[in-house]
Symmetry: C2
Subunit: 169 residues, 2 copies
């Protein structure tokens, strides 16, 4: 799929079919995630891949904002490593770029996903840390359920020229 | 360009030719930026487009980490709007995804760019705020110089299977 098309047509999908995902596809999406830029190439990320449907259903039951895990065939927990910071706390920005690469690669393969936020909601951080044995020095930052889409959403174009300033604010 | 190819081949470019950039190309990259996902679709972004070469040279002189503005034909200041937050402080993550969409769209058009960090470095935030008259409630977050590449960098593949955990940490 063309890059600009992928960027413009990708949507958050919250309902997935029961078609399983080939393992190689998740690896391809993680390869894209790890090629995100990061401050001083600090590569502040880890990933926990979840394919156990019972675990996904438990996440859906525990977290209202992650209810779409109910039908997801897989999910990835994005975990930040602030101990890798070389130039200050840029990890939130780096992780944002990392998740976005993952979402675009997923969409490019005909799969779909939805970014569900964890950090900085303290209760969610603690819940995911406990559920996946994440050590204290790392931070569960987002969970992204993945699957083949079972809902159709057309493209949106959120361009707003009022947000674009020329030369000065 | 294919999406996966764009993600895997995009590099930070720090030297640009003197070929000017057609205005429509910057708009296309900003359209991509504004289609990034954001928490609750809060769309927490503004953009200041800079094409004045004197201003770009001044940024290069003032900020060592942005020295590549010296040869850039244009640049975009990414400004966050924390007042738009609907579900808590997710703006850093959202802005990261927004910058990444911009970088991929730029690369897709044969242009090149380099993400230079501003926030959370306080002095940089204040310098850019003053230089571009950014109101106090908004936050200059990153500056991205753009141009046609005048250096060649091959692709890198940063996939690291040690960062991938299955089911648990």
């Amino acid at each position: 799929m063309e890059t600009f098309e992928a960027i413009m047509n990708r949507r958050s999908i919250r309902k997935f079919t029961d078609v399983p995902i080939h393992e190689g596809r998740l690896e391809r999406a993680l390869r894209a995630a790890m090629n995100a830029p990061s401050a001083g190439t600090q590569l502040c990320w880890h990933f926990i891949v979840v394919v156990d449907r019972d675990v996904l259903k438990q996440i859906a039951a525990d977290h209202k904002n992650a209810h779409m895990c109910d039908t997801a065939q897989a999910g990835v927990l994005f975990v930040a490593d602030p101990t890798s910071e070389r130039f200050g706390p840029f990890w939130q920005q780096d992780m944002g770029a990392c998740v976005q690469n993952f979402l675009l690669a997923v969409h490019d393969m005909g799969l779909a996903a939805c970014w569900t936020g964890i950090y900085p909601r303290e209760q969610r951080v603690e819940d995911f840390r406990k559920m996946f044995d994440v050590p204290d020095e790392f931070i569960p930052m987002a969970f992204v359920p993945v699957g083949y889409p079972d809902e159709e959403k057309g493209p949106v174009d959120r361009f707003d020229e009022e947000r674009v300033h020329i030369d000065k604010w």
